[in-house]
């Protein structure tokens, strides 16, 4: 370990640490464009100038390249430094278009931030030449839009494509003022992690076509969350905006984008495009009312009626629970799974319960983040021991085929896709089919009651990823329409049915979770609040 | 022709000409004048929006519009009050004011077709007392209106109104006694006739104002107090208690206003008769203009008559406008100050006036 001095504070760092990282340790954020801790050092923006005194010599140097050495004295603010930064800012802004009004980056743009701190007002009046014009609005990939005029040539995106994905779609060409980011011949920026270049672009040169012009960033609220796209459990931030202060604009759209959140152990700084754009389901095609069947049609009903109907139907199986099957879903949070396990398994003593089924689709692993298991919480269900019944794991539907099931409770599963053509025939033998789902689907004709449930953004809870890491996510907003949290529904059901095994409550679920899930006790703060494995947002 | 019928016809014609043809028109015009006059000295233009085929005629059509409005507005009778009395009150006031005109002489008698026609509806020998008596009818209107509305504010208005009017009737009556003493009559034509004479060799007309200046200064405010207009509008006091007519709307409210304006005209006529020589114009005798020995112009009889009638009308209108001017200039009295003024300041002065006048008349006249 070596010791250096940053703005009068002693810092101890590993040998080989860059000065910029050493400064960060004492909370001195050195302005920078090109430096990114997840990428190699380029040192081409020259913004991170600091004054370094080393072996009696003082120099102004680039903090992302300079390596900390013993006894080094670093000053992040000095006349020379400010002068250098002012010069860099002027240089960067020389050709910058007057685009803030329609640049999506305004509000999170580093140029804006740094200008307010280190820019020079009078710089513009010294301009001699007309700005260089470059191509604007280039669709360089299915998800990314490039505006070359706004680019500050930090090459973060180039390095990302080179070092992280290895796809090498982007490159720089020309020189001087005409230096321009371009797509390599014959390629498009369509790798499965392409969305990350938008995150790391410090200015508005690369914008997200999905998010583009939807909402200004300063309106967005943030909530830490976990990506439910696969069992990796990438840490994310949900950027949402419920409505403008008094009037809803787009009634249906609440989440506007997802951003990766830095977690060294899980996802680093990145996330895949599949997860990034997977948020659309939160607001699209949601089930908003409890539905009760009368005759051939399902009609909306209020919760009180629906709960009464469900509890009276379930009451028939209290005496003969062995013919009751429960299909849990690995998209459900630990809490919901546990509550279902306690209620259906321990209290109601259902004959069959499982959380995975043959015939469910699997994706493919890739070398970076994506896992084949496209559900975030299969490991949690496994750890909670939610498999019951005579059939082996994943084979519960055989009980249905064998005719052992008289009633089925289905969480989120799309039965026709699991059962295929025999759906109607298999289900016809059931006496009762209860579906708890988040989205509108084609429910089989047998479904008697359908209850709307909340998705992950609408509830606080936790997922256990493939390696057994429990990660909590927070509630961003209230469930849509009349949908409710599964835990809430189950607690209410158990209260209404008032079975011998006791009423389900927050406490016994928590206790069970703590017992079964290693690490749950540490991450779960009281009152079902959010916890984070890491709080640090991904640096841009 | 049957003398009785003839008499009735003449009386009816007089009523028609004098009451409807003059008084009502003047009173209605006063509603216009009040707005326009106040507008002029308040740097405004005043009501002028009502038009007929685009002609606005200085806002005169607003009178018609007002009439239509007050006729068509909802006539609301408070269910918590006394409906009969509530309906009765405005008519009493209007009646008292209109009837007073019966004895006002609008000009010297004129001979038409051999008949001497007096220019008053009826020549009562107690004309002056008659006016005072009917003028005080107004108090019933106020008190009944206030009481029948069963509203605290209206009640306050009524209480204030009754005490104010009774108090000032005393001053009014006492200040008139001076005039009666000087002229020696309570019959209005005689009072006017007395004022036709001159002092100082025909230079100063022997008008009541010169004979009884103090009486005028007491009579005029007391009379304004009788009409309940600013600065004596405490029964109304629109920023304090809104007034006895609080629960009135539409036509009946309009009648209160009309009654008030008619009272103004009555008062102006009365002041002209008592203190400003009635239909006498200075230096205009029956034969023509006579200014002492300086000027003598002979005029035909009918011209003199016309000049006198018009002169009298001009005096009435002048006093009407003066009252309006006062109304828009001064702030309102406080109720107890008003009574104090009436009883403690004006009444002693009025008594003093009677006393002095009596002595002077006894020794000189």
């Amino acid at each position: 370990m070596i010791t250096l001095n940053v703005n009068g504070q002693e810092v101890r760092v590993e040998p080989g640490t860059k000065v910029i990282e050493a400064c960060k340790q004492v909370g001195e954020v050195v302005p920078h464009f090109c430096y990114h801790p997840g990428l190699s050092v380029a040192g081409n923006c020259r913004m991170c100038m600091v004054e370094i005194e080393e072996r009696g010599r003082t120099r102004v140097d680039v903090a992302c390249v300079a390596v900390a050495s013993e006894g080094m004295v670093v000053k992040t603010e000095s006349e020379g430094v400010e002068d250098a930064r002012r010069g860099v800012m002027e240089f960067l802004l020389l050709n910058h278009p007057i685009d803030c009004p329609y640049c999506d980056c305004a509000g999170e743009c580093k140029l804006q931030d740094y200008y307010m701190e280190w820019g020079d007002t009078d710089a513009g009046s010294r301009r001699m030449t007309l700005p260089v014009r470059k191509p604007k609005r280039q669709e360089i990939g299915p998800n990314v839009m490039l505006d070359s005029e706004r680019c500050v040539m930090c090459t973060r995106c180039v390095r990302f494509c080179e070092e992280v994905t290895g796809t090498n779609e982007l490159g720089m060409r020309e020189r001087g003022s005409h230096n321009v980011l371009h797509l390599e011949e014959g390629k498009t920026l369509d790798n499965p992690y392409a969305g990350n270049v938008v995150d790391i672009c410090p200015v508005g040169a690369l914008t997200d076509r999905d998010f583009r012009f939807n909402r200004r960033v300063w309106f967005l609220k943030k909530q830490d969350s976990i990506c439910p796209g696969c069992s990796r459990g990438c840490n994310t931030e949900i950027h949402f905006d419920l409505k403008r202060e008094y009037k809803r604009h787009e009634e249906s759209k609440r989440v506007h984008r997802l951003k990766p959140r830095y977690n060294e152990q899980v996802n680093g700084w990145w996330m895949c495009d599949e997860g990034r754009y997977g948020y659309h389901g939160i607001d699209r095609d949601r089930l908003t009312w409890p539905m009760l069947r009368s005759g051939d049609t399902l009609g909306p009903a209020d919760w009180d009626l629906a709960m009464e109907a469900v509890s009276s139907e379930l009451a028939h199986f209290v005496k003969h629970p062995e013919s009751l099957g429960v299909m849990l879903h690995p998209d459900m949070s630990n809490e919901a799974l546990c509550a279902a396990g306690v209620f259906f398994g321990d209290t109601l003593r259902a004959g069959y319960m499982d959380y995975g089924f043959e015939g469910e689709p699997y994706g493919e692993d890739d070398e970076l983040l994506k896992k084949a298991d496209r559900h975030p919480n299969r490991k949690g269900a496994e750890l909670l021991g939610l498999h019951r019944g005579s059939q082996p794991k994943g084979q519960m539907l055989n009980a249905l085929r064998e005719g052992n099931l008289r009633a089925l409770v289905v969480f989120r599963w799309d039965l026709p896709s699991l059962l295929g053509e025999e759906t109607e025939q298999l289900l016809s033998q059931l006496r009762y089919l209860l579906v708890l789902d988040t989205h509108n689907r084609q429910w089989p004709g047998k479904a008697l009651h359908v209850l709307p449930t909340a998705v992950y953004a609408e509830q606080a809870g936790s997922f256990t990823n493939f390696e057994g890491r429990v990660q909590a996510f927070g509630k961003a907003f209230e469930p849509t329409g009349e949908a409710r949290d599964e835990v809430e529904i189950l607690v209410e059901l158990s209260r209404r049915m008032n079975l011998k095994g006791g009423v389900l409550g927050g406490n016994n679920i928590q206790q069970r979770l703590k017992d079964r899930l290693p690490g749950y006790g540490e991450i779960q703060a009281p009152g079902r609040s959010v916890i984070h494995v890491s709080k640090e947002a991904a640096p841009r | 022709m049957n003398p009785l019928l003839q008499h009735s016809l003449i009386a009816t014609a007089k009523i028609g000409v004098i009451l409807l043809g003059f008084i009502m028109i003047v009173a209605t015009l006063l509603t216009w004048a009040e707005r326009k006059q106040s507008a002029v000295f308040q740097h405004r233009i005043g009501a002028n929006r009502a038009d007929i085929f685009g002609f606005r005629v200085l806002g005169l059509f607003n009178i018609i519009a007002d009439g239509i409005k007050s006729f068509t507005k909802e006539d609301w009778v408070p269910p918590f009050g006394s409906p009969i009395l509530h309906n009765l009150a405005p008519f009493i006031g209007l009646f008292g004011a209109m009837v007073s005109f019966a004895v006002i002489p609008f000009g010297p008698p004129i001979e038409i077709m051999g008949q001497t026609i007096t220019m008053q509806v009826v020549d009562l020998n107690i004309g002056l007392l008659y006016i005072v008596a009917f003028g005080s009818m107004g108090v019933y209107s106020v008190v009944i209106a206030g009481w029948a509305s069963n509203n605290k504010y209206a009640l306050f208005g009524a209480l204030r109104g009754i005490s104010q009017m009774i108090s000032y009737e005393v001053v009014l009556g006492l200040s008139l006694i001076g005039v009666i003493l000087v002229t020696g009559s309570v019959r209005l034509p005689e009072i006017i006739a007395w004022q036709g004479d001159y002092w100082l060799n025909g230079w100063i007309p022997r008008w009541g104002i010169f004979a009884q200046p103090l009486a005028f200064l007491l009579f005029f405010p007391a009379a304004i107090a009788e009409t309940k207009r600013t600065p004596f509008d405490v029964p109304e006091g629109e920023s304090e208690i809104i007034g006895y007519n609080l629960e009135y709307s539409g036509l009946k409210f309009g009648l209160f206003l009309l009654g008030e304006f008619i009272e103004i005209v009555v008062l102006s006529a009365f002041v002209s008769v008592l203190f400003f020589g009635g239909w006498h114009l200075p230096w205009l005798t029956d034969e023509g203009i006579r200014m002492g020995t300086l000027l003598a112009i002979d005029l035909p009889e009918i011209v003199v008559w016309l000049m006198r009638v018009l002169g009298f009308s001009a005096k009435i209108i002048f006093f009407c406008l003066l009252q309006l001017q006062i109304r828009w200039t001064l702030p309102r009295f406080r109720f107890d100050h008003l009574l104090r003024l009436g009883w403690k300041e004006m009444m002693p002065l009025a008594l003093l006036n009677i006393f002095v006048t009596a002595i002077v008349v006894y020794y000189i006249g």
């Binding site: 609005r137 012009f213 | 000295f41 001017q325």
Partner: protein, 220 residues
């Protein structure tokens, strides 16, 4: 330089013992005004406009309008480029700066214009608006202005109080109360504007709204 407290001499003069002097004084003031104004009115009757204006401080609204100052904040409008596109680029700064949340912009991507972003809908809820002018201050594109000089913005329906993009782009008879016609008799001004009656002073609608035009362009 000093400030100091000074006692007001408020002993009442002897004249206030009587009512009559002050009443006479007051009457003289009002009669003075009366006579002066009456004189002006009379001269005004013969057609002298200056005298008529002197006679009365009030104006015959709506036939005669007061000269409205340049800075006066009146109904909003959105400026347009020469080709009819609104200058607004839906940057949302006005919406952010609005203390009343009365501006609602729906942005859209716009391929043809150099700005690439344009408002699909721009609504201002005049029911909410407090006419503070923050939106004008906040606009970085010189697009929104509050200089239409339209003050008559009342309606008996809430939905009529919401200005839409086409109302803002074309705010109607801007010039009627403009400074060049200030103080003039409206009936004389109107023919110059191609209008005949006052009833016509309502926001005009343009035939083809920007939005529709945009739709047709995209369709073709």
């Amino acid at each position: 330089m000093a400030t100091r407290f000074v006692n007001i001499e408020n002993k009442l003069p002897a004249s206030t013992a009587l009512y009559y002097p002050a009443i006479a004084g007051g009457l003289s003031v009002t009669i003075g005004h009366f006579l002066k104004n009456m004189l002006y009115h009379t001269i005004g009757l013969f057609g002298n406009k200056g005298a008529r204006e002197k006679a009365s401080f009030t104006l015959q609204y709506p036939e005669v309008m007061r000269p409205l100052p340049r800075r006066l904040r009146t109904r909003h409008r959105i400026k347009v480029h020469e080709d009819g596109r609104p200058k607004c680029t839906a940057c949302m700064l006005c919406e952010t700066a609005c203390p009343d949340f009365c501006i609602y912009i729906t942005p859209s991507e716009h391929d043809d214009s150099p700005e690439e972003k344009a408002p699909l809908e721009f609504q201002i809820d005049l029911d909410r608006c407090c006419f503070c002018g923050f939106c004008v201050e906040a606009c970085p594109k010189d697009a929104i202005h509050m200089d239409t000089q339209i003050m008559e913005t009342s309606s008996d329906r809430r939905e009529n109080m919401v200005l839409r993009l086409q109302d803002l782009v074309d705010p109607g008879p801007v010039v009627v109360s403009g400074p060049e016609f200030a103080g003039k008799d409206m009936h004389k001004v109107l023919p110059h504007l191609g209008m005949r009656k006052l009833d016509h002073i309502k926001p005009r609608r343009i035939d083809l709204s920007y939005r529709e035009r945009q739709a047709t362009e995209q369709g073709s």
